[in-house]
């Protein structure tokens, strides 16, 4: 196949001899990609659609994406006859509490690791990083025993405190803090600012993007947590949504409308965060791969 040898801009029309074949390939590729998009979206759309249907319509075939008439009983039952509101509240308290505490701990420590020189700095940081790769399941047994001793089962503390010291968090905080200009801190010192003042008045305001990125990561991790709540909560008034949703299936595992309604509401906060803070959300997801 002969192609023109001169370099053309990447975006311009090139290789005119193979443009027709390309046209076919472009169509094929995009059809396949669109099928992929549909596959990615189907379970999600199905969930929303089925939550507005009565039990006997959920499984009618062929599927009607838009229900004949929106049926709200699943949601009415959810809020009227189950503890859903309470579970939502529990999940929110825990997620906000854990996010705030983690942000504070990780920012302060990450800032210290990035901007101060002190004995054992490297060793301590490597210690944290090493723990970062440990599967959390390894501490499950002793941590559970500790929670029993502390009398923390079925409290908010049990979900907020043990995982607040996030190794990934301190790693990210340090990465972001490294980018802070040291001259800014020096200038503040000369102006007589205290070290704590430097942290609160110079570091934190300049690290707002980092706070957003890490806040989203912590919030989502807490919101989606399952194994730990499963172990430390057995009082249904203290359940978080993820723990409660499977129980909504009922004794015969068949109340799908209720489960899906609960799931739809549980996803809403995450969707709001996604659209309101898309840039930080994406940055947070990419943080693992690209920072460092």
């Amino acid at each position: 196949m002969t192609t023109s040898v001169q370099a053309t801009p990447a975006t311009g029309p090139r290789f005119s001899a193979i443009r027709i074949r390309n046209g076919f390939l472009v169509s094929l590729a995009n059809v396949l990609l669109l099928i992929g998009v549909v596959l990615a979206a189907v379970p999600f759309i199905y969930m929303i659609s089925a939550s507005f249907k009565p039990q006997n319509e959920i499984f009618t075939f062929p599927v009607q994406i838009i229900p004949k008439e929106p049926y709200l009983d699943n949601y009415i039952t959810l809020f009227g006859e189950t503890l859903y509101l309470r579970w939502f509240f529990n999940t929110a308290i825990v997620a906000v509490g854990r996010t705030a505490l983690s942000l504070f701990l990780c920012m302060l420590a990450g800032f210290a690791f990035a901007k101060y020189d002190f004995p054992f700095r490297r060793v301590l940081f490597i210690l944290v990083l090493a723990s970062f790769t440990l599967p959390f399941e390894v501490v499950l047994i002793p941590l559970y025993t500790m929670m029993v001793r502390l009398g923390w089962l079925n409290t908010y503390w049990v979900l907020i405190i043990p995982f607040a010291a996030s190794a990934f968090g301190i790693f990210l905080a340090r990465q972001y803090a490294l980018a802070l200009p040291t001259e800014l801190m020096e200038a503040a010192r000369i102006d007589g600012s205290s070290e704590l003042g430097i942290f609160f008045r110079i570091a934190l305001p300049n690290l707002r993007p980092a706070l957003a990125v890490m806040g989203i990561i912590f919030f989502q991790a807490s919101w989606n947590d399952f194994l730990w709540p499963l172990i430390v909560l057995n009082d249904s008034t203290m359940y978080v949504i993820n723990l409660a949703l499977p129980t909504l299936r009922g004794p015969y595992n068949d109340q799908y409308g209720l489960v899906l309604g609960g799931a739809v509401i549980a996803v809403i906060p995450i969707i709001i965060i996604f659209f309101a803070m898309q840039r930080y959300f994406i940055e947070g997801i990419m943080a693992g791969a690209l920072k460092g």
Binding site: A7, Y46, L105, T133, V138, P142, A266
Partner: protein, 321 residues
């Protein structure tokens, strides 16, 4: 040497005698002392809720502890028993199959998606961002929600998937997604593909965008076809991202719990039981705490081998010189 004037760490000069005693000492050393106060809250929680349990769990793995009984030292017995335990071997096999599913199906699929979306096969910028945005949809759900959704799609008699199979291929085409021992692992893998292909594609797209366009252009001009460009230039330059995605996916696969637990409960006949669920059952249904800890450390051993790769890849101290 001007012994009459003091120089602070910031280079300020003080008149003789201004700060004395503790205040002078503090002024000189505060920049190495204050950071310890900053890291203390983190490390106190870290020590209590992570470091100590990690050590304690290691200790317990050499002991027999049933419920709240006093741990009795039994040496390596837990580990020896584990190697002969058919349920553990089954869970190890299942979990390895999940990891292989990620490795051989999900990651290549994610890579192909990323390459196609990033190539001239999708010439419109709007379409590129639309595809990328749609990758996020599954990420908005949790493992629990995804599992519940799929348990409905997988329903034997009236689930969406079997309804379509029946429509096109007849009654006997129905698949026991969560009840057929030969199919359950595939069902779990399909769920994992749904949840994680998108994010891995995003990692690959980000990696692809870091490759200088000129390199691929130059190769194309030199007469290399798309396959030669892909194998000769794109994949070698993508190695760090591929390594990261691979290690993360294997790591995540070995720690899988919620999906099999909620979809199948580990059944039928333990065919979808994961290592973590076996640990959970051992610890919290049979209260065999020592044995459960040994399962935990076996999992650590598997994952640490991968973690070494992980740490090397992260190169955490690159900026420290």
């Amino acid at each position: 040497m001007a012994s009459s004037s003091e120089i602070s760490p910031t280079g300020r000069r003080y008149a003789p005698g201004t700060p004395t005693g503790f205040r002078l000492w503090w002024h000189r050393h505060r920049l190495t002392i204050i950071p310890y106060f900053y890291i203390a809250p983190f490390f106190i929680l870290f020590a209590i809720f992570l470091a100590w349990p990690v050590v304690r769990s290691f200790y317990l793995s050499f002991h027999k502890q049933q419920g709240i009984s006093v741990p009795a030292f039994i040496g390596l017995d837990n580990y020896v028993n584990l190697l002969a335990d058919p349920r553990f071997k089954q869970s190890l096999l299942n979990t390895t199959v999940y990891a292989l599913g990620s490795l051989l199906l999900q990651i290549p699929l994610a890579f192909i998606l990323a390459v196609v979306v990033n190539s001239r096969l999708v010439p419109w910028a709007n379409a590129k961002s639309f595809y990328r945005l749609s990758y996020f949809v599954p990420l908005l759900t949790s493992a629990v929600i995804a599992s519940l959704m799929f348990s409905i799609l997988y329903d034997y008699n009236s689930g969406l998937i079997n309804s379509y199979l029946m429509r096109f291929f007849g009654e006997e085409a129905k698949v026991g997604w969560v009840r057929n021992a030969r199919v359950v692992k595939l069902s779990i893998i399909l769920l994992l593909i749904w949840r994680f292909t998108g994010i891995n594609s995003l990692y690959f797209v980000a990696g692809l965008q870091n490759i200088p366009k000129e390199l691929e252009e130059a190769a194309a001009i030199d007469g290399a076809n798309w396959w030669q460009v892909l194998v000769g230039i794109t994949i070698p330059l993508m190695r760090p991202v591929i390594l990261f995605v691979t290690v993360t996916a294997i790591n995540g696969s070995y720690q899988i719990f919620a999906e099999p637990y909620l979809l199948t409960g580990g059944g039928p006949r333990d065919q979808s039981l994961s290592i973590v669920q076996y640990l959970y059952n051992t610890g919290f249904s049979y209260f065999n705490l020592g044995y459960a800890s040994a399962i935990g450390y076996t999992l650590v051993t598997i994952i640490v081998i991968l973690a070494i790769l992980n740490l090397r890849f992260f190169g955490a101290f690159r900026e420290d010189q």
